[in-house]
């Protein structure tokens, strides 16, 4: 059977959809509203830092962030390709969208594991 890339990108897209739907609302509610509006006490920096130093937490955060990029890339690719009828540029569009997602993921990886 001829190998095609589509199922690969779709897997990342699907995984990104699940991840962002499951975790982003909670994270946003917590760090975007609850903490800044003072609904709960600001968590101590030390506590958060210790949490973030755990490898599994890093991995999870990285997965949420990176997969969400790929979710975006896939959606945006089809939006450009079909929504704007840019068939002629389908390869360039795919290259750009997934390329951006890959670059951003590498950056996320750097922030998470190297910095």
């Amino acid at each position: 059977m001829k190998r095609r890339a589509e199922p690969f990108w779709w897997s990342l897209f699907g995984a990104g959809g699940v991840m962002s739907a499951m975790f982003l609302p909670v994270l946003l509610l917590f760090f975007g509203f609850a903490v800044p509006f003072g609904w709960i006490d600001v968590p101590a920096y030390e506590g958060l830092r210790t949490l973030l130093d755990m490898f599994l937490v890093k991995l999870l955060l990285f997965a949420i962030v990176a997969l969400s990029f790929f979710h975006w890339a896939h959606r945006f690719r089809f939006t450009l390709y079909e929504g704007l009828q840019l068939h002629r540029f389908s390869r360039t569009i795919a290259f750009l969208c997934y390329g951006i997602a890959i670059l951003l993921s590498v950056f996320a990886c750097y922030v998470m594991f190297v910095l």
Binding site: M1, R4, P7, F8, S11, G14, E82
Partner: protein, 246 residues
């Protein structure tokens, strides 16, 4: 008696005129469906009007049209719902029009063929042999077998509108109808045919097909399940390169 205005899409190529809407005033009969209204026009006002229908009971799938912008079975949609009118009746979207409300459906028929909608066995058994099935095995695919080929989903699908090559909702759901049949062994054949650029991956999960389907086939759901299978298959052949699937 109360009346209602019906605006019907007319196209009569032999007259050489452009497509246009023609308005008819007809009785607003509470018992009528849209198809009765069309038949009233044809029988009493204008015999030249063309449209397809047969069973009048939501079974044959031939009376699909776009009514006030939405694809419906005209034999299952009451006229009164649209009072005080006017009601606009057009042929199904995304298909070439042959005449008035009649569309050219050969593209759809080709696509049905493409998914090999029959039971495939690796080896043919004897004709005496029966392939038994439990009720739960039947339940696995029954929903997908309810399709009446009305093409409402193709009319509603924006991807099919933009990419005429797309295999489309009903045909992909039909593939799943056979893939999930315990008697069938053709999953791999179909996967091959439907993983190309016109197959399941072209679907962007808009979901309008399932919203308009009169038989609750849920083609959108069928395609998403198919994608999960396709992706699993892809990873399997990557990670287990010497597996039987290759």
């Amino acid at each position: 008696m109360e009346t209602i205005e019906i605006e019907v899409f007319r196209y009569q190529p032999e007259k050489g005129s452009d497509p246009a809407f023609q308005t008819y005033e007809i009785p607003l009969n509470k018992d009528w469906v849209i198809l009765d209204a069309l038949n009233h026009i044809k029988d009493h006002i204008d015999g030249s009007l063309s449209f397809r229908w047969s069973c009048r009971m939501g079974v044959c799938g031939s009376c699909g049209m776009v009514v006030n912008g939405k694809p419906v079975l005209t034999c299952a949609t009451f006229l009164e719902k649209f009072a005080p009118g006017p009601v606009r009746i057009e042929p199904l979207d995304n298909f070439p029009v042959v005449r008035d409300l009649v569309i050219e459906m050969s593209d759809f028929l080709d696509k049905l063929q493409k998914v090999k909608p029959w039971i495939i066995r690796e080896e043919e058994g004897s004709t005496e042999e029966e392939y038994l099935q439990t009720p739960s095995q039947l339940a696995d695919y029954k929903q997908y077998s309810m399709c009446i080929n009305c093409m409402l989903c193709y009319s509603a699908c924006p991807v099919y509108g933009l990419e005429p090559g797309f295999t489309g909702p009903a045909a992909l759901a039909l593939a799943q109808r056979y893939n999930m049949d315990s008697r069938d062994q053709g999953n791999r054949d179909r996967m091959e045919a439907l993983s190309d650029d016109t197959g399941m991956w072209q679907c962007t999960f808009v979901g309008d097909c399932s919203a308009v389907c009169p038989k609750n086939v849920d083609p959108a759901g069928a395609i998403q399940r198919y994608k999960v299978e396709g992706a699993t298959h892809w990873w399997k052949t990557l990670l287990l390169p010497y597996g039987k699937d290759r």
